[in-house]
């Protein structure tokens, strides 16, 4: 029986006076070491859910409980979470090394360890040779790779990724996915959203499909495809959420 990492119970989230909640009673459990894909149409509540899971937002109701060894306080738990936003969340005026050094220090990493970590990560994503170049001079793929490794500086136990490969070339995409698979082999749990469904099919071993703030399917991909008698993830999403355009 795999060890539980995260238990989400009856999570509701509504903004202001809006009558329709963004999340309307979400329940699920994630085991350690899984790669979980969260999918759904635009406005389904994916971003709100991920924001709650990585403690950017607080749920209106319900609870999110992490079972991390030795980590009890919210601050200790936060230190074990990594978040890769869809937007480039770094400073383009600074060099890659200056960006990594700044965020690494915010995680309170020791100077020697941090320098070593920065070099290792830059090597892994092929940015070592441009570490002292301003990020504003980087291509989209290079920026995407930097965006990813900033979140890996503190060796998070759980990594949240929001569209990590959007707008990148195939080479950068392979580099990013290879690194994520390597991290997962080392024990990192990955929770991920993407509109690249083919990539997600190959990458994820658990699928959570949400629509209108509710979970409409949660299982392994193989089981879901068999249960709903469809051939792939795209057909599954269309079958369960319909073809109506969403705002």
């Amino acid at each position: 029986m795999p060890e539980t990492l995260l238990h989400v119970s009856k999570v509701y989230k509504s903004y202001g006076k809006s009558a329709v909640p963004s999340l309307a009673g979400i329940d699920f459990t994630i085991a350690k070491g899984e790669i979980v894909g969260i999918f759904g149409p635009n406005g389904a509540g994916k971003t709100t859910l991920i924001s709650i899971l990585c403690s950017i937002l607080e749920p209106t109701l319900g609870s999110v409980v992490y079972h991390l060894e030795g980590e009890k306080s919210p601050r200790e738990i936060r230190n074990k979470l990594g978040f890769v936003p869809q937007d480039f969340s770094f400073f383009p005026e600074l060099t890659a090394k200056q960006n990594l050094s700044y965020f690494g220090n915010l995680y309170n990493l020791k100077k020697e360890d941090l320098e070593q970590k920065i070099d290792d990560l830059l090597q892994k994503v092929g940015l070592f040779h441009v570490k002292n170049q301003k990020v504003s001079t980087f291509s989209g793929g290079m920026k995407r790779r930097l965006n990813l490794i900033i979140s890996l500086l503190h060796d998070p136990s759980v990594l949240f990724l929001d569209e990590p490969t959007v707008g990148v070339d195939v080479q950068s995409k392979i580099a990013i996915m290879s690194l994520l698979q390597e991290l997962n082999r080392q024990g990192t749990t990955i929770i991920y959203t993407s509109h690249h469904l083919k990539e997600a099919e190959e990458f994820c071993n658990q699928i959570i499909l949400i629509d209108h703030g509710k979970i409409i399917a949660s299982e392994t991909l193989t089981n879901l495809l068999r249960e709903h008698e469809v051939g792939n993830l795209e057909e599954l999403i269309l079958k369960l959420t319909g073809t109506l355009l969403r705002d």
């Binding site: 601050r75 936060r78 979470l81 990594g82 400073f91 600074l94 965020f103 220090n105 915010l106």
Partner: protein, 425 residues
């Protein structure tokens, strides 16, 4: 501590990379202070130190026209160009061609009319004193000296020139009147002791600046006015750099990442405050050093620092904190960088205008002075004028300190509310 150091270092790097921001924060105020002080100082010198070129046509048939011209020369304020061939209309036309600030036309009957009036008044006085039985009743004839100003000459300058010429003609008229009085009493001319007494009769005016303290007087001049005023403007103009910087980081997603790092967001805000506090204080230091050490070398008055150092430090710190808080407030509420830059710049220009940075507050209508009270720049300027011009100290700074403190607190509360709503803190 390492987290704070890293945050501060990141902010320093961002400030150093923001070339436009640096130019706006350091070069623009230097140029503003430099240019406006020179311009105001030149205007001051034109009025107070340089001689004004005056074109005069004296067509008077008697001696008093010459007396008037001599009195104008003697006053030392005018550089006289005399051409008695010019008619009144020619004076009007030629004043600008001759590079004169004003043209004066003395009519041919100037002495005659002035003597006639003096004669009438002296006879009326003698009649009143019972020396003569009945003075002839003659309607006084008005003197008409025509003065034509170069159209560029401003109204307040015209008034002071008019008053000066009026005072000189009054003096001539008085002397003529006293002369007539003595003539009626049988004297050939005014006795020398009385003439001397008339010359010495002028009231001596002791002119000095009002001061709130008895310590060494600070002399008001263009440097004392402009260096503090434009330093305040420069501090508040950091809204372009700091406000824009906050919007950019928020929109880029950096703030989002910081939310996932314990204390990350709070540290970023604290380090921004500290770095921009240093920027504001260094702006002031730079401008004050220029006023103290460079101005005297280029013929401008040296900036004299206030005697009350601690109150000066407190007003400076509160001014800087107000400026930073306002910039962060604009950056927090603006939806785009363009909005932050546009609104920030325009609001500071309006605050500067109603706060008396360009035109002194006291010359504005009452309602504008009342509106000016909402401008933080007005209170910063009030504080600096109290220190730099009036030699004031704590008791005179209560209003300034209270307003700036409250302004800073209100901005901080509004920032907190917005960031709380957006879940950043």
């Amino acid at each position: 501590m390492r987290k704070l150091k890293a945050s501060i270092w990141k902010e320093i790097l961002l400030v150093l990379h923001d070339k436009v921001g640096l130019l706006l924060m350091y070069l623009m105020p230097l140029l503003l202070v430099f240019i406006i002080t020179i311009v105001q100082n030149s205007a001051f010198q034109i009025v107070n130190e340089n001689k004004l070129t005056v074109l005069i046509s004296n067509r008077d048939n008697g001696p008093l026209g010459d007396s008037l011209v001599k009195a104008l020369v003697y006053s030392g304020s005018f550089d006289i160009k005399q051409n008695n061939k010019l008619s009144e209309s020619a004076v009007k036309r030629t004043t600008i061609d001759e590079d004169a600030m004003l043209g004066i036309y003395i009519p041919s009957n100037f002495s005659e009319r002035l003597a006639s009036n003096a004669d009438n008044i002296s006879k009326l006085m003698l009649e009143q004193m019972g020396v003569i039985e009945e003075a002839p009743r003659v309607t006084p004839k008005k003197q008409e000296i025509a003065i034509y100003f170069d159209p560029v000459v401003q109204e307040n300058f015209r008034i002071s020139v008019n008053n000066g010429i009026q005072a000189i003609t009054n003096g001539i008229e008085n002397e003529e009147m006293v002369g007539k009085l003595f003539q009626e009493m049988g004297y050939d001319s005014i006795p020398s002791n009385i003439r001397q007494a008339i010359i010495n009769r002028e009231t001596k005016l002791k002119i000095a600046n009002a001061s709130l303290s008895d310590v060494a007087e600070l002399i008001p001049n263009s440097s004392q006015h402009n260096v503090p005023a434009w330093s305040i403007f420069a501090m508040f103009f950091m809204v372009i750099s700091l406000g824009g910087n906050i919007v950019k980081e928020r929109l880029s997603g950096s703030f989002l990442r910081l939310q996932t790092i314990p204390k990350g967001f709070a540290l970023t805000l604290v380090s921004k405050f500290l770095v921009y506090l240093f920027v504001a204080l260094s702006q002031l230091l730079l401008l004050f050093l220029m006023g103290i050490y460079i101005f005297p070398h280029i013929g401008l008055p040296q900036l004299a620092m206030p005697n009350a150092f601690l109150p000066f430090l407190v007003v400076t710190l509160l001014s800087a904190l107000s400026a930073i808080s306002y910039a962060v407030l604009v950056g927090t509420y603006a939806k785009t960088q363009e909005q932050a830059n546009g609104f920030g710049a325009i609001s500071i220009i309006i605050f500067a205008a109603i706060g008396g940075i360009w035109v002194p507050n006291f010359v504005m209508p009452d309602y504008m002075q009342a509106i000016g009270n909402i401008s933080p720049l007005k209170w910063c300027l009030e504080g600096y004028y109290t220190l730099f011009l009036k030699n004031g100290a704590w008791s005179e700074l209560i209003g300034t300190i209270t307003f700036l403190f409250l302004f800073t607190v209100i901005c901080q509360i509004l920032i907190f509310i917005k960031l709380r709503i957006q879940n950043y803190i």
